[in-house]
């Protein structure tokens, strides 16, 4: 997964004629199944010998947001049981929290 991220980042940086990548920012949802520490560890290994060798990795954790069909409102569940705080309905409609994205890069020439 980190390799995919680096591949996308390097392709984008090259397209923009950049010489090196200074910062990668990723959005990782709490429900993505991915642990930020695992990405950080993989990044430490994979960045060597690439144009991201001296780059920082910033991971933004995106909290889970659900939609309650009964109240027709969004809520942030406090645990893995997605219960609406207003009416107690268990929701399976997830609005946010599954993200696995490369959000942006900072590059220099």
């Amino acid at each position: 997964m980190m390799q995919n991220t680096l591949d996308i980042a390097i392709a984008q940086a090259r397209q923009n004629n950049a010489a090196q990548i200074d910062l990668l920012t990723m959005n990782i949802g709490e429900l993505s199944g991915v642990i930020p520490e695992a990405l950080e560890f993989a990044f430490e290994v994979l960045r060597w010998g690439t144009m991201a060798e001296n780059a920082q990795l910033e991971i933004k954790t995106i909290p889970v947001v659900c939609h309650c069909p009964k109240c027709d409102r969004d809520f942030q569940p406090e645990e893995y049981i997605y219960q609406c705080p207003r009416c107690g309905t268990t929701s399976s409609k997830i609005i946010a929290g599954k993200e696995l994205e490369l959000a942006s890069l900072v590059v220099s020439s």
């Binding site: 696995l100 890069l105 590059v107």
Partner: protein, 248 residues
């Protein structure tokens, strides 16, 4: 073009001295996999094939469940729901042989070190199957309740299987996987009392974590409950165009 360094970026200069730029990307890390999964989904749609991604821990009985589905299918005397299987493991083609022995068209994918199947592996494996002759394609994923959750394979439905020996709290321990399932199958119910399986608690846990899931209780060994599961899948095949994939 930027006048300072010749790069393509003229906006979003972070630091004019070092000439750093910010590039907005907002791209899914797995966008390549998602694209290939969509291609698979289109192929399966053309073939009017119901495709199931079957997920569980190692040893929950994925292969045994498919074997029993094949047996019960022929007992039912129905000619529909012709089964094909793509089976993923790190090593060996034992499972594909087991299934072929039952008269099921099965293709083995050995992933080497990979702990999950990806859409491109499935695309390649489907070339070895006569999709035209199939109604139901089961993709038996690598035994793992973590990583496969993130990888769309182009399936219509996800079945997560847990067996009574694994404990009632499995859904609480692996919520991401259970939340991605439309069907949860509880297997090995023939030995439930021997292992003091608390059925009510297990079902309640599944419903709390995965309120969207249909629950089936089966024994791949004795065949109990398999007909209901088969009937449900036959029904899903009929309404395939209206099935909404949960993940992605």
């Amino acid at each position: 073009m930027c006048k300072d360094c010749g790069c393509n970026i003229i906006d979003n200069v972070v630091d004019p001295k070092t000439h750093q730029h910010k590039i907005e990307i907002e791209r899914g890390i797995l966008s390549k996999n998602d694209r290939l999964a969509e291609q698979n989904r289109n192929l399966f749609k053309e073939q009017e094939l119901l495709v199931v991604n079957l997920l569980s821990s190692p040893g929950s009985g994925k292969t045994a469940l498919i074997e029993r589905m094949q047996v019960e299918r022929s007992l039912l005397g129905t000619n529909n729901l012709n089964l094909g299987v793509i089976v993923g493991d790190l090593a060996t083609d034992n499972d594909a042989h087991r299934l072929q022995h039952r008269g099921i068209s099965a293709v083995q994918i050995t992933t080497g070190n990979a702990c999950h199947l990806e859409a491109n592996m499935v695309a390649k494996a489907t070339q070895q199957l006569d999709l035209n002759s199939l109604d139901l394609l089961i993709i038996e994923n690598v035994g793992n309740l973590v990583c496969p959750a993130a990888y769309d394979l182009g399936e219509d439905l996800r079945i997560v299987l847990l067996s009574v020996t694994e404990g009632e709290d499995k859904p609480l321990k692996y919520p991401t996987m259970f939340k991605s399932a439309q069907i949860v199958v509880v297997n090995k119910i023939d030995i439930a009392s021997a292992v003091e399986f608390d059925r009510e608690r297990a079902i309640a846990n599944i419903q709390k974590i995965a309120p969207q899931a249909q629950i089936f209780e089966v024994s791949a060994k004795t065949g109990q409950g398999i007909k209901l599961l088969l009937a449900y899948l036959a029904e899903q095949l009929k309404i395939k165009p209206s099935i909404q994939p949960l993940h992605g």
